[in-house]
Amino acid sequence: MANSFDVIILGGGPAGYVAAIRSAQLGMSTALVEKDKLGGVCVNIGCIPTKALLHSAYIARLLSNAKEFGVEAGSVKTDYGVAMQRSRRVSDQNSKGVEFLMKKHKVTVARGAGMLQPGRKVKVGSDVLEAKQAVLIATGSRVKGLPQIGLEINKTTVISSDEALLLEKAPPSLAVIGAGAVGMEFADIFHAFGTKITLIEALPRILPLEDAEASDTLARSYRKRGIEVIVGAKVKKGTAGKDKVALEVEAGGATQKIEVAAVLMAAGRAVNTEGIGLAECGVQVTDRGFIKVDATLQTTAPGYYAIGDVAGPPMLAHKGSREGVFVTELLAGKQPHPIKYDNVPSVTYCHPEVASIGLTEDQCKERKLDYVAGRFPFSANGRARGSGETEGFVKILRDKRYGEILGAHIVGAHASELIHELAVARENEYTVEEVELAIHAHPTMSEAVAEAALDSLGRVLNI
């Protein structure tokens, strides 16, 4: 194996492997260093397997309510182990897919932990690879626990999403600490598999980064389903036993003791910046621990770039992939379209789904923007009624003067798919009027998007 490449990428997750494909497409010789399975957290212990499990949860819920639709499914039995096995097969297929893509594009995959060295070199085992153009750092992130209150991840009773994805059966009870995307999704999954869920969030509302109306809708939906939701809560102490965990949770001025079979830590992620030789190469990190980058994603060491989670928030696969494409195009001498970080869609795949882009209404208020909110509930949408998925709404925040789409928020079935109409609109600077002018097929959930645009213009039709 020749050890000299144009581009070397450290980390085979969605930022790294997409960068590798684009780099190879642009005619640069490319090496990808990965110590584990290709595809990273996303494919193996993140996005992909959770979506498989969420679909299992969806089916369980669907069958439980099927009688109303004229379908008798008998008593519905669930088996988390089977669902988990299926999710593993999906992950493995995707990881093999990435392997195939690397072969197809003639990307050299170096297996092992990579260590950066000065002079654009990466040491993998006894090999030293050398990059003629650039080294891309795409080492990603991992789950983190809260050791300071006794909740260090022990992989049995105090677990992270990594372990949750590999459980053979659903625990009888589970406290989920952190109601961001990960916490929301696992609460949804395990609840459908019969686990008694307590969802604990430190901030005043669940999904704290989403629009307050989205948070409220989800909190109502979860509570109605029997999930206990505690917000503005501080976990003062956690005592992990052999087969149970005792929690002391303070919320609303009172302290309550909760005993659960397991605790799932979903309170943030830590970036993987240790032990990869950053300091030795002059790559600096920010106060928050991310790698310091400039507008071209180059680090403080010339020739070393950072992409994906290590390069800073939002820590999302699609943001990392775009950064990978951006940097490799830059290296190939192209002028890539600049990344608009305020235009990265955010999606939580719980039921109902939550998807958003741009500013929340609170942010519009904080920035003292002159805006108009347009709303349309799915309860008034024919297609949603037909499929019994009337929870949620589309909300569009538009600039009062020019009609610019400042933010869009969708809660409901298929919100993750519906948001992209508004992503296209925002990226191309369409106003609400262009969105409304496009003819939307009837009956579709997408009509709610057009109606919300119309509502923001004071011309809503079907409500």
């Binding site: 610019e404 600077e429 106003t431």
Partner: protein, 407 residues
């Protein structure tokens, strides 16, 4: 019709150099075209035979329309649409038969008629009254996006604006209604540009004005002495001395040699001096590049050449764009003092009045001295009162003691 200058929207065919049926070679001048700023050459982009001359001399046609077709010898040519119609989507002749058969209008020129802009940018431009054609797009394929419009008010516009009212023009076409108490004069290309550009200066740019009176007695002596020693080899004018002093003063006061650029100020290291020149039916500001590094004689020659070119409308776009500061002199019209309009994105301009004898107190005695008033217009976003005053004081000192320019 090619876009021969950055702001050209239409061009008037002044004179055809080739006739229908003439053989032409790529690079040869086909016709002279009057644009918004100058008379320029329209050159052949391919070898062949000139056919289908569709625009008559004196006719004004929009950029992108076909004015003629270059065909291969003997190639049949289909009738071209009249030049005033929108540009045709396809060349009137075989496009694949290049070089023969290429239309005179290049595809790029045809595209120039259509501005790519996002719907949001269009709406913002409409409300702000900004002409999208004057805005450089930074989006994909040069698409004008929101960001470009936010900086449009301060962007370096591609053509020099007028600096003050021009001497009364002689209108080329006058429509006089019999018995009417008025006459309607269509705007010429240059006046259209002046109108468009003027509105981007005095309105949006916060002007303030500083006036000083300069004793020109010693500058006059210096001029006479220099002209005596130059003899046959040339001459130095007061204007040349003023240009030179301005350039040198700007080197000392870089804060005034600047462009306002929306989110930043660009301080120029070199001095490119704009010089307002009255031309028939308007005015234009040709640019003396690196004026600070030119000797007085070189500067005088450059100023004269540019003024001559401006009057005969032979300036190339690079000769009237990119100035960092401007000078407008109406002394020859016996104007005592006046205020000039800033040429954006520049931050300042000086308006120079006439030089006249005035009773002046020198060493306690009233003596006649040659005096001149200079008024500086400043963009307050870049130059503060004291900054402008300090520059003006240096300029005054240099003019009152021309030897200081040698330092």
């Amino acid at each position: 019709m090619e876009a021969l200058s950055p702001t050209m929207e239409e061009g008037r065919v002044v004179k055809w150099h080739k006739r229908d049926g003439d053989p032409v070679k790529a690079g040869e001048t086909l016709a002279e075209v009057e644009t918004d700023k100058a008379v320029m050459d329209l050159v052949a982009r391919a070898d062949g035979v000139l056919r289908q001359v569709a625009a008559a001399e004196g006719q004004t046609v929009p950029v992108g329309s076909v004015v003629a077709v270059i065909a291969a010898p003997g190639e049949p040519v289909r009738a071209a649409p009249p030049p005033s119609s929108p540009p045709p989507p396809a060349p009137a002749s075989r496009p694949t038969a290049a070089p023969a058969g290429s239309p005179v209008a290049t595809p790029a020129a045809a595209d120039a008629a259509r501005v790519k802009a996002s719907p949001l940018a269009r709406r913002m431009a409409r409300e702000a009254g900004v002409d999208l054609k004057l805005v450089t797009g930074s989006g994909p394929g040069g698409r004008v996006v929101r960001k470009d419009l936010e900086s449009a008010s301060a962007m370096p516009l591609p053509v020099a604006p007028p600096s003050e009212p021009a001497p009364a023009p002689r209108p080329p076409v006058v429509v006089t209604q019999a018995g009417a108490g008025y006459e309607d004069v269509p705007l010429t290309q240059i006046r259209k540009t002046i109108a468009k550009r003027l509105a981007t200066s005095l309105g949006p740019v916060p002007h303030f004005f500083l006036t000083t009176e300069v004793d020109m007695e010693r500058a006059g002596e210096a001029r006479d002495a220099l002209n005596q020693s130059l003899g046959e080899r040339g001459s130095v004018s007061f204007n040349d001395i003023i240009l030179k002093a301005t350039a040198l003063a700007l080197v000392q006061h870089r804060a005034c040699n600047a462009w306002f650029q929306d989110d930043h100020i660009r301080y120029w290291n070199d001095v490119h001096l704009g010089m307002a020149v009255a031309v028939e039916d308007g005015l234009i500001t040709p640019v003396i590049r690196n004026a600070d590094r030119k000797s007085l004689a070189e500067l005088g020659k450059a100023a004269k050449d540019l003024a001559d070119k401006a009057r005969s409308r032979r300036l190339q776009p690079n000769e009237y764009t990119g100035s960092t500061f401007s000078v407008s002199n109406l002394g020859m019209f016996d104007i005592d003092e006046f205020t000039a309009v800033i040429n954006p994105p520049e931050a300042g301009i000086i308006a120079v009045g006439s030089i006249g004898q005035k009773p002046t107190v020198v060493s306690g005695l009233v003596t006649p001295r040659r005096r001149m008033r200079i008024t500086m217009s400043c963009d307050h976003r870049v130059i503060d009162g004291a900054t402008g005053a300090a520059f003006l004081r240096t300029l005054k000192q240099m003019l009152e003691n021309p030897l200081a320019m040698l330092l």
